[in-house]
């Protein structure tokens, strides 16, 4: 791979003697969407705030395109666009004025560029309205527009889908994918919602209690295990239960009106055929795509905020 756009070097943060971030080391490359995943309170936001210089680092450093955020803040942050938590724009100004405001803070952003960004996020029609009249989705778009003004090499989005409806989430997702693919922007997305990350990211780093517990590519995670959780609704149930128990050697459990079992993906048609041969009526077969979620829960445990 090429040179990393962002590099975290043994990043640590201690607040009143309590270690919050305990030494993070990872790299992010251009054109990839990196998911930063962890339960609430794991240190995602703290890490992101350190990346953009909102919080000081206790130890270690963050390098952006070779510039240290600690010692060369201006040159490092020049390449960063971001939204930290909610996209909090000035509600009493129009969307356009908000963008003009941020454009004045970095030299070399023309009116044309602002217009281009507005088009990119699809806000042309409402850009002259006050932000106080925007829906959350529109604010989120304006937030992204603001972050893209200066053509950043790295885009940091903290909980970008927070509070959005499903169609809004989908839209943001497609923006992010497009930015990474077409403009080669490296995107860091933080979230605690796993299914979202699975759909959006190339790589996911899982953080727990201030430590990175795992980094892996989404593709790998999905392929790694072919063991599927299946829920089957059939009648008569007793008969189906017996057939399954014979086939799967006793790993079947009964939950409500469904039978639950774990099975290799390739074996599923086989099992269904056997059931049909026994004249058992099958009403539904549901496969839980929860491999990543299981893995996630395995890694972080449940309810483990220190």
């Amino acid at each position: 791979m090429s040179e990393p756009v962002m590099k975290l070097k043994n990043l640590k943060k201690t607040i009143s003697n309590k270690p919050i971030i305990k030494g993070l080391d990872f790299e992010i490359y251009s054109g990839e969407v990196f998911g930063f995943l962890g339960p609430n309170g794991a240190g995602k936001t703290t890490t992101i705030r350190m990346m953009v210089g909102l919080m000081s680092m206790t130890d270690g450093d963050v390098m952006i395109k070779g510039h240290s955020v600690k010692t060369d803040f201006k040159n490092a942050v020049r390449h960063v666009g971001g939204i930290v938590e909610n996209p909090e724009m000035y509600p009493f100004m129009t969307g356009w004025k908000n963008l003009v405001h941020y454009s004045r803070m970095i030299p070399g952003i023309s009116k044309d560029r602002i217009q281009e960004v507005v088009r990119l996020v699809g806000l042309e029609k409402r850009i002259k309205d006050k932000v106080s009249k925007y829906s959350l989705g529109m604010r989120q778009r304006l937030g992204i527009a603001q972050a893209l003004l200066h053509n950043p090499s790295i885009l940091i989005l903290d909980e970008p889908t927070n509070g959005l409806d499903p169609s809004g989430i989908r839209e943001i997702r497609s923006y992010i994918r497009r930015l990474a693919a077409e403009e080669g922007v490296a995107v860091i997305v933080s979230s605690h919602i796993l299914s979202e990350m699975e759909m959006m990211c190339d790589r996911i780093g899982i953080i727990k209690n201030g430590e990175l517990v795992s980094i892996q590519s989404v593709q790998d995670a999905l392929q790694q295990s072919d063991q599927k959780e299946v829920a089957l609704e059939a009648e008569p149930m007793d008969q189906a239960f017996q057939v399954l128990q014979q086939l799967l050697e006793g790993t079947v459990s009964q939950g409500g009106s469904e039978l639950l079992f774990s099975i290799e993906r390739t074996e599923i048609p086989n099992v269904i055929q056997k059931l049909v041969e026994q004249n058992i009526n099958i009403y539904s077969v549901n496969v839980n795509r929860s491999t990543l979620e299981d893995k996630f829960l395995d890694l972080i445990g449940e309810g483990t905020i220190e």
Binding site: R49, V52, G53, L54, M55, S56, F73, K74, N75, V77, R78, V80, G82, I83, V84, E85, N86, P87, E88, M89, Y90, P91, F92, M93, K97, V100, H101, Y102, R104, M105, I106, P107, Q146
Partner: protein, 318 residues
Amino acid sequence: MSNFIQLVKNEQMKTYSQIATWVMYIVLAVFIIGFGVFMKVDQTIMDDGQTTDGNWKQELQAENEQLRQQAKEQEFVASMNEKQIAMNEYRIENSVEPGGYDVWNFVQDNRTNISIISLLTIIVAAGMIANEFKWGSIKLLLIRPISRTKILASKYVSVLVFAMTMLLFLYVLSFLTGSVLFGFENFMEPYLYWKGEDIQQAPIFQFTLAQYLLSSVNLVMMATFAFMISAIFRNSSLAIGVAIFLMMAGNSIVGFFSDKEWAKFILFANTNLNQFFTGTPIISDLTLSFSVSVLMVYLVLFLGLSWFFFSKRDITNA
């Protein structure tokens, strides 16, 4: 540098995009025009039965006789009348005709409205930093390739620009209102005032301008104070409350400690620079250069603390 001007422009844009700012200007305008109308009505009532036959020197002499007579009868008005008598004699000796109440007197009287401007500037200064935290926009503001020091400086300069704009608004509007209601007279009309034991004379235009500037010292100090509280505590209500309280209580504080050795180092003993140009200082051993030095020390202290807390602390909440 151009970068810095852009930042100040940003702050101005934010200030003037808020309806509250325009309400402030309307309030000030109501005070000025209302005061003008009040003075006009008052004057019309007082004018009844007065004659102006052109011989003002004799009138002044007659007035002096009356004042002397009054002083003999009533002890307590004696010193006040003495000053008036001296002023009248000065006019007679130097042929300075007392003009009627005109636009310049009105502009001069409107100087009291600077305390309203102080109040409004405190509100703006208190919000400068605290509001960015309240809105959460501070996070987007500080992730630009601009040092926090520069952002803080642009915000402070913006407060000063706002105060100056308001002062100019007061000066111009009171001039216009005064011209309409009381008539316009020339710029060079002389104005008499006391300096210590002497009577001084200056063109009224110059005098009012100087008075406006001198009266703004307190305004700048209190606005800077509010700005500091805003930067340290990130809470605009607190900043407004403390600053307005101190502004109101300032003179009482000085009065309360006036017999102490260190009283002259209290900020409020030094904010009234006017006392060195007209009248006599409250604390006798104060001098202009001393007061200016004390003010500078306070200013540096306020700005230094603002800078320290704004640039060093983590942005955690908000």
